[in-house]
Amino acid sequence: MVDNPEPIFFTVIKTFSASISEEAEFVYSHFSSSSEEKSLRDDEILQSLPVGTTATMYFRDLGPQLGWTMVFLAECIGPLLTYLLFYFRVPYIYSHRYAFTSSPHPVVILACACHTFHYMKRLIETIFVHRFSHGTMPLRTIVRNCAYYWGFSAWLAYYINHPLYTPPSYGEIQINYALVMFVICELGNFSIHLTLNNIRGDGSRARRFPVPTKNPFTWLFFFVSCPNYTYEVGAWVSFSIMTQCLPVALYTLLGFIQMSIWAKGKHRAYIREFKDYPSLRMAIIPLIL
């Protein structure tokens, strides 16, 4: 094996081991005594690993998994559909006399349009735009995430479509400004996704970090590493203002916290990998966070 000039790609080993377990994560041991947790990629070459003539491979059965595409689809379909149940006031949600009635407030129709558009856009992006790594997510985590997304959207849809819903205090001005901000943020978020997609698509193996393009929405890259998250938070803030609904604001806050954690991680990864990374950039909020 040592004299064989052919590089042995790791996928070959994985295929042979497929009979052992459906979805396994392979690591190798750096120290002889313990199993150091360094996961191996499919395109790693056996000869390039820092092991001697004998390599000890450890694998761990990760349990039932789903690919990223399925995960995103599952997480998006729920909110999309549950919100509509509340919008159409399906029986047994509100009291009987309100079943299948509609709200007298235009902002309620607008909110439904925005919410539905947001998740439709996500579904389309998941199917046509995003190129996911071949990572997966354990079934348990997906169930937990879906419970969170589906449950929260049901909770906020309940209030927005409620017969006793109170429209925003500042009326038309508040609603219209919020709507404009919402549309800008959705366009911005979409632009960033396209830009990130194009980075990978070039074919060259060299890794580059995302930079602003001619599209003005991407100029946020001058200031933050993850403008997609910035725009996402912006969209939800707009939606909170548009509906003036506390549960929406709460959902926005929790989403902001989670996305900040992700953004910070991505930001640190960029800085570690690229020596010439722009120092002006923050993770998610320009100049602040």
Partner: protein, 219 residues
């Protein structure tokens, strides 16, 4: 049966100094948390010395850390909640037997647990204390939980009648909260939580008391 004097005592304690119970509990909690973190720190040092490196240290203390933190948080939350959000807020339940039930259970538990950690830190743990810690809970846990559940249950009609801590529609921020339903959900949450904690303690007991040797350090 509990005498009227006992009822009066408990009620008087609540009305005169609600801060006293909470303060005492916080003091005890702080001591316990310090002890707990010392245990984890000792574990880390031992693991480091054994491995000769920092790698994988987290994994060596992960389980006790997670359980200790989760258990501690749950217990703290449940006690603060019971003290302030139920017993203090709903005067009518303050003279209930159930309050005396869980306060007694907590007090005895805490005295034993406090002693257990103190002696462990001094490296001189009498077997009696260890035995008490891993045996008394068999009665004290169900006793405390029963007291807590009964107290919450007793508070329900008053909460519903007065709409305590509840927000109704319509309002400017389109939000509502029903404390009554919330309390019921809390009671339901005991069903999955309590057995888990209880059976974990039983397993711990088998492990700890099952051996003939006397351990002088905390696991």
């Amino acid at each position: 049966m509990l005498s009227k004097a006992a009822h009066g005592d408990v009620a008087a304690k609540k009305k005169k100094g609600p801060g006293a119970l909470a303060t005492a509990y916080l003091v005890i909690y702080n001591v316990v948390m310090t002890a707990g973190w010392l245990v984890i720190a000792v574990g880390l040092v031992r693991a480091y010395l054994a491995r000769g490196s920092y790698h994988g240290l987290y994994y060596s203390i992960e389980k006790p850390l997670k359980f200790f933190q989760t258990g501690a948080i749950l217990e703290v939350l449940s006690r603060v909640f019971l003290t302030w959000a139920v017993t203090h807020s709903v005067r009518e339940v303050q003279s209930e037997d159930s309050v005396l039930l869980f306060v007694t259970a907590w007090t005895v538990t805490e005295i034993i647990r406090y002693s257990f950690y103190t002696f462990s830190l001094l490296n001189h743990l009498p077997y009696l204390i260890k035995w008490a810690r891993y045996t008394f809970f068999i009665v004290l846990y169900p006793m405390g939980v029963t007291g807590e559940l009964l107290t919450i249950y007793a508070a329900l009609p008053y909460v519903q009648k007065t709409g305590l801590y509840s927000v109704t529609l319509p309002n400017k921020y389109n939000f509502s909260f029903d404390y009554y339903t919330f309390l019921i959900l809390i009671m339901i949450s005991y069903i999955p939580l309590f057995p888990q904690l209880y059976f974990h303690m039983i397993r711990q007991r088998k492990k700890v008391l099952g051996h003939a040797e006397d351990y002088s350090k905390v696991e």
